[in-house]
Amino acid sequence: MALDTAWATSWVTASAAVVAENRARLSSLDRDIGDGDHGENLDRGFSAVVAKLDGLADTATPADVLKLAATTLISTVGGASGPLLGTAYLRAGGAVAGQGTLDGAAIVAMLTAARDGIVHRGKAEPGDKTMIDAWTPAVDAAAQALADGAGETAILVAAADAAAVGAVATEPLVARKGRASYLGERAIGHRDPGAESSSLILRAAAVAAGG
């Protein structure tokens, strides 16, 4: 089943819920190798997005939802993750602009654009121990699933699974971007909070699609 605006809004709502639920845990991950506000930042941002969903026109497309999320996150999250995730949603919306429903190819294009937006803003490479280490495997897995003929939901599930593995895989890494990079070897053994939250958000996308 192709994904529509209802999917997009429930993705955002489910993201908000899972971020709220994991707020303390995300901040605690951030306390280990950053400044301890990551859960707080995202919770503030996604709550603001949810509060704005009501204002969407009935004719809104998935891209409209993504752009609303983008501008709201940019103007409420702050920190490093705000502009990065905001750019991700902005580019994601741009990639599927005008489409009433999204098929598998559109979904892969959307995820790819999101990841590219984060890289454009933050200049991180895979292995730098950032949210990119969740997004890049997710994009690759989604593209592979599409090539393997999977449907929309299965593509999102594949992306979420890969993101989860990617987040865990940040643990042994030394960070090269963001605050954790100040720590050198001391970051080893800690999971990157941004990779973890991105994994939660990508899982929410799959769940919203019934996956």
């Binding site: 400044d35 301890g36 506000d37 409420t76």
Partner: protein
């Protein structure tokens, strides 16, 4: 967690409201989005100076808004950079047609949010230049990190660039003086205790009873290394040693020596630190011609201090000495 607050979520708003109430002749405060601005902004023909960042470092930045220093300060939530909206609003509020300089501490969040705001201001026809302060020698500046952090040296950049803007330098000139200060200033800090962010309620890190953190950041981020507590002089030797390794100074060089408290350090301790730092510089024949001791760039109630050295010349000295009138730094008027 024991704090003189009403609720973790209202800390910044209420503190900013109190700041505005206490300094009515100096600043006004805009709420929604929140920023602090000189009472006489915008000044036509004067380059506007805007800085900002997470709250919890007071008096940075609001305490430095006023004649001869910043035109506006944008406080984010505690230890979290502000979003682009208030930065854009502040930029517009101080633009007097001569362009606006953003002074940004080098943290990914600050850099990205100010960058976005600058793009938006540019789209509205305001010329914006940005200078990123990265004086903290504790962090290796390399391809493998987000680069050095901006810490106490930011005050010196704001003061000196502010003096240049106040005397009428154009945007290009003010930006290049700010860049010059950034190139000539180095800082390194130590923490004896962590701090607790109001909304978290948990200390930012834990230190054992006899442990200190060398090379601490200003957000309770861990530093370069954790070592057993040492006498103050030995700690200062480490801090200043790292600075001088990075920026060798020759006999006869003139400097400004700043000792900055992290918020919870008694002033006697800051002067004990100053005493040793001045002694080390004197041993090398380096002259200390200006000084600054106090709480300027803090981490809430953290106990600790940082040492900053700025390599002065005639131009920087003159701009440092120029009149300034802000809540936290004032002379000459």
């Amino acid at each position: 967690m024991k704090k003189l607050i009403n609720a973790p979520t209202s800390v910044v708003d209420e503190a900013v409201a109190g700041f505005a109430a206490a300094h009515p002749g100096l600043v006004t405060v805009s709420h929604d989005p929140t920023f602090i601005v000189r009472v006489d902004a915008p000044r036509q023909g004067k380059v506007g100076l805007v800085s900002g960042g997470g709250s919890g470092h007071e008096p940075l930045h609001g305490g430095f808004v006023g004649y001869g220093m910043l035109d506006a300060a944008v406080p984010g939530p505690v230890f979290t950079s502000p979003t682009p909206d208030p930065v854009l609003a502040a930029t517009k509020a101080v633009d007097g047609g001569a362009g606006v300089l953003h002074i940004v501490k080098n943290y990914t969040g600050d850099v990205l949010n100010f960058e976005t705001a600058a793009e938006l201001a540019d789209a509205e026809g305001i010329e914006v230049r940005s200078v990123v302060v990265n004086d903290d020698v504790a962090v290796k500046d390399s391809l493998y990190t987000a680069g050095r952090r901006g810490v106490a040296g930011t005050v010196l950049v704001e003061k000196i660039a502010g003096a240049a803007a106040e005397r009428g330098d154009d945007l290009e000139a003010v930006a290049s003086i700010a860049t010059k200060v950034v190139e000539r200033v180095r800082t390194m800090g130590v923490a004896l205790t962590p701090c607790t962010v109001p909304h978290s309620g948990e200390p930012s890190f834990t230190l054992r009873d006899n442990e200190i953190e060398i090379g601490i950041g200003i957000h309770g981020e861990p530093g370069r290394e954790r070592i057993p507590l040492e006498p103050a002089d030995a700690i200062v030797d480490r801090l200043l040693g790292a600075i001088l390794d990075d920026m060798p100074l020759a006999a006869g060089d003139r400097t400004l020596l700043m000792v900055n408290g992290m918020g919870g350090t008694p002033q006697v301790e800051l002067y004990i630190v100053y005493r040793r730092a001045a002694e080390i510089l004197a041993e090398r024949g380096v002259e200390v011609t200006r000084s600054l001791v106090g709480n300027f760039v803090t981490s809430l109630e953290m106990q600790g201090a940082s040492v900053t050295v700025l390599h002065l010349d005639d131009q920087l000295t003159e701009l440092w000495d120029a009149p300034v009138q802000t809540a936290a730094l004032r002379w000459g008027r």
